[in-house]
């Protein structure tokens, strides 16, 4: 946040800089094709500008959880976040979970595979990101805590039962 014009009216920003999966991103704000519009959501920018299509958009209205990503470690909905308001933030998407060198999957991802915790898979990136935020704050969650943390993620194939098992199994201090 530069420019403190106390007493003056607020000013628009010209660039927005943040990091995605550890890589710095700087985007110009404007209405040209190579620029990010102030009305673009983070979900849109991730998919259309940065090509990170692992983040899914389903309801685009904050009601399903498919577009969940982490901002500074907290699970948020990228369809309800403006890209221009991500200045200085650290964004993590599903693409950032696997080890970039070895390609080894995050234990959560592996656990979802091991427990077949999906059918069509469209909600899965959001599910995994919500679970990642939970395990970041609570390494040994109870089943109820897992359900609570995933209560904002909807799956129309009803993979929820397998998802809860997969998350519990992936928790370092978990019971399963």
């Amino acid at each position: 946040m530069a420019a403190t014009n106390k007493g003056k009216t607020a000013k628009p920003a010209k660039v927005v800089a943040f990091s995605v999966n550890g890589k710095a991103v700087e985007l110009q704000i404007g209405s040209e094709p190579h620029q990010v519009e102030s009305s673009h959501t983070l979900a849109h920018t991730l998919r259309e500008t940065l090509g990170l299509v692992g983040t899914k958009i389903t309801c685009d209205n904050g009601a399903c959880g498919s577009c969940t990503v982490l901002i500074d470690g907290k699970a948020i909905l990228s369809c309800m976040t403006l890209t221009v308001e991500c200045q200085g933030k650290s964004v993590m998407t599903i693409e950032g979970l696997a080890d970039p060198v070895s390609g080894r999957l995050d234990p959560l991802q592996q656990s979802f595979i091991d427990h077949t915790a999906f059918q069509c898979g469209f909600c899965t990136p959001g599910m995994i990101m919500s679970a990642k935020a939970l395990l970041g704050e609570n390494a040994a969650p109870t089943e109820d805590e897992v359900k609570e943390a995933l209560s904002g993620n909807f799956c129309r194939c009803i993979s929820h039962y397998h998802v809860v098992k997969a998350v519990l199994a992936a928790a370092p201090g978990g019971s399963e």
């Binding site: 607020a10 704000i29 308001e85």
Partner: protein, 346 residues
């Protein structure tokens, strides 16, 4: 979303100045969870020219207690209110109300100021442009309320006038029970509005260029048993069908202070004053709690499809007064388990 000018306010005064400058064509953005619904669905005839970001205002997300008054900055997030040890211990109903909102992802960004100022959820009012909207209605100032003859299952059972949409805020219900006030800043300076007076059938008490800056919550004398109950059709990410906040102070076996607030039954938060008066001086038991539930419905005039809310109000008030959880099987009715230990049943 269609384009708009995006401005980062550095101070509340700057945000007010920007509101004045745009003469009603700018909208404030805090958490954005309600605003983006408007911008994406374009259910209002006019699209805002500018969005003023309030998150860039530093230091407006505090939770602090001084001289017996809890002060909450308007940008305090619902997740922080729900998790705050201070609020959990002394204002438990507020913590529960904040936790009852939407989903974890939304609570991580949604602010209490935004939760209080959010627009109504009426399906006619919010009918999206991409499905053929917007629909004219009384709230938009250009037609009758379509819910009166149409689908009014989620609408007001009391105090509706012209518009019958209900106040969707959960935190407002708890705050009204605490007699909380909003500190509002505008071009003419600062003023205070009680949460229970904040909502009108056609909108809220904010003038065009005003901003909610802080919420003041007075401490309740004595230790109140607090309860917030929210009845929804699905548990997460849903708005209340009926919600109730109840604060009960019992001394020497009788109730000396009762506060009962009802949400999602009227354009604003209703304080069930008849029920509160009835409970004072009485012992809190199944009978008096049930009677409070009946009295809470004073003045109710349901629409054709929402009389079912009456029974939910009665039950939630009874459970709130008794301090029972939302899902309790038939407390004291028809020989069900009695919360105060029915001697015949052990």
């Amino acid at each position: 979303m269609k384009p708009f000018l995006h401005l980062n306010a550095q101070t509340v005064a700057q945000a007010v100045k920007s509101l004045v400058k745009f003469e009603g064509r700018a909208r404030l953005n805090a958490g954005g969870t309600d605003l983006f619904g408007l911008l994406k669905d374009e259910f209002l005839p006019e699209y805002p020219e500018a969005i003023i970001n309030l998150k860039s205002v530093a230091g407006l997300n505090y939770l602090k207690q001084s001289k017996g008054i809890l002060r909450i900055g308007a940008l305090a997030k619902l997740c922080d209110i729900a998790e705050s040890p201070l609020i959990k211990e002394r204002y438990g109903a507020l913590a529960e109300a904040a936790h009852a909102v939407a989903s974890p992802q939304l609570r991580n960004v949604a602010t209490i100021g935004g939760n209080l100022c959010q627009d109504v959820r009426c399906c006619y009012y919010r009918y999206p442009r991409h499905l053929g909207g917007p629909i004219s209605c009384a709230r938009k100032g250009n037609g009758p309320c379509l819910a009166v003859r149409g689908d009014n299952r989620n609408h007001a059972i009391m105090e509706g006038r012209k518009c019958f949409a209900v106040c969707p805020s959960d935190t407002a219900v708890a705050l009204a029970a605490f007699d909380a006030r909003l500190v509002v800043v505008g071009p003419a300076g600062e003023r205070r509005i009680a949460v229970r007076d904040f909502y009108h059938p056609l909108g809220n008490a904010l003038e065009r260029d005003e901003i909610v800056k802080e919420i003041e919550v007075p401490a309740l004398a004595g230790r109140a048993r607090q309860s917030f109950l929210k009845f929804t059709l699905r548990r997460p990410i849903d708005f209340a069908v009926v919600s109730v906040a109840a604060l009960i102070v019992v001394e020497n076996g009788v109730c000396c202070e009762a506060r009962i607030a009802l949400g999602a039954v009227a354009p604003g938060v209703i304080r069930a004053t008849a029920a509160e008066e009835y409970l004072k001086g009485r012992a809190i038991d199944v009978e008096s709690a049930a009677q409070a539930g009946e009295l809470a419905l004073a003045g109710a005039r349901p629409l054709p499809k929402n009389a079912y809310k009456l029974e939910i109000v009665k039950t939630l008030v009874k459970r709130g007064v008794l301090g029972l959880p939302l899902e309790t099987a038939g407390e004291g009715d028809a020989g069900g388990p009695c919360p105060h230990g029915n001697p015949e049943r052990g």
